[in-house]
Assembly symmetry: C2
Homo-oligomer: 227 residues x 2
DNA sequence: GTACCTTTGTGCACCGATTCACAATCGCGC
DNA sequence: GCGCGATTGTGAATCGGTGCACAAAGGTAC
């Protein structure tokens, strides 16, 4: 288990473990068992152990994992030992909120620029930084060595902004616009669609209502006629 | 294929198809093939067909799917034929941004209340609504028949807010706080963690750098010593 | 009415991820 | 230094999801 390439699903959970571990450390815990970490992360313990085993054998049988050491290893694996300069495109509601979001800076993501295509927004101050025009994107990317871009524009502008980010040299994109964007092979994209999450909840909510109706009697006829 | 229970992965894609279909409809398309829909949604066509087959056989061989009819069916399946009143807890940056977010109302999610525990925020106007105190949550939920709650508080407050939501009668929660929350069996939870997404991008970004270094020569020694 | 073209719906093989279950291993107390 | 209780690390079974590939079926042109 000592080569590279961690399963995608595991990569998605490492940040959760990391958060839990940091909390443990703050509470003064020196070691933690897979069971306790699993509880804190909301998964089962076998998964925790298998996930952590991809990083190496850092646990001690009969004892658990050294919290501080494990934090270090997870950070290293995730690439969080360095600072990541981030550029946000779109100075609307969401762009503003993300620019001010403490959770980013706390984890080593430094918002170095907020760009927009609207002239009237340029110069507006948002927290520490001022909105710049999107035309200056390539220059900013070069100056600050930005690798990660965040798209907070309306859906219609998303693809064009993505293209400009890629042309400017950005290699990873987090897309909040409700649109599918396409990028070259070498660029990573992740998307967060706020309304999709609500739609998924609506589906299960509706399902609960339907099931309750069925269980309640009459409507069961629709599915399985009583003999 | 005519019983209930759609695979989770499919449920997650239906909103994407829906968005693409609505765009098609606006562009005047009457029918669409699985191939075209796949392209618009960024998946492959077999997946589209299989996903849609869970809703029923709504396509016509040799032709494709009727756009308007398919929109109706997807909406019905997702439970979007009705309006969903939504309550947001936490009037910080993110709470404000989400309250104003057009994407919610466009899809039938009506923000009926924004609550916070800070007295000084109560009364503050955000778009159409005014911030109310979280103590009034149960009353609001009853009055507006709220089923869905959104948590936009700091991590420390998330569990307590979730508990209050559940106690107040909310049955689905979308959690933006970077914390794992636990709720009773009958409550659905989905979480969106903004900084986790960036951490995942950081991982792949770092990996690309490592791989490039390896390919570039020297560093390959770390992994596979040249004989 | 028939032949051809297109596109759906789905059986099947495959793949990654999850979970179980247990041997291997550690620390500790005596 | 030995035995016991705790906990890891991982094979193996299983599960859900993906994608290929093709038969079934509708539309169209002549």
């Amino acid at each position: 288990m000592r080569d590279r390439a961690i399963p995608e699903a595991t990569v998605g959970r490492l940040p959760i473990y990391l958060r839990a571990l940091i909390e443990m450390a703050e509470n003064g815990a020196a070691t933690i068992s897979s069971g306790d970490l699993a509880e804190a992360a909301g998964v089962n313990s076998a998964k925790v152990r298998k996930d952590l085993s991809y990083l190496g054998s850092y646990g001690t049988r009969g004892v658990g994992y050294d919290v501080a050491y494990l934090i270090h290893q997870v950070r290293r694996e995730l690439g969080l030992t360095q600072d990541w300069p981030v550029l946000i495109a779109g100075a609307g509601n969401l762009g503003h909120a993300l620019s001010n979001y403490k959770g980013f800076s706390e984890r080593g993501f430094r918002i170095v620029a907020l760009v927009d295509n609207a002239e009237e927004k340029v110069g507006e101050r948002v927290g520490e930084i001022a909105v710049e025009h999107i035309d200056r994107l390539p220059e900013i990317v070069r100056r600050e060595d930005v690798a990660i871009g965040v798209i907070c524009t309306p859906a219609g502008a998303a693809q064009e902004v993505a293209d400009r980010m890629v042309a400017g040299g950005i290699r990873s994109i987090l897309n909040f616009a409700p649109a599918v964007i396409s990028v070259p092979e070498h660029v990573s994209v992740r998307k967060v669609d706020l309304s999709i999450e609500l739609q998924i909840l609506a589906y299960y909510e509706q399902r609960k209502a339907v099931l309750a109706a069925v269980k309640g009697g009459r409507a069961a006829l629709d599915l399985a006629p009583v003999p």
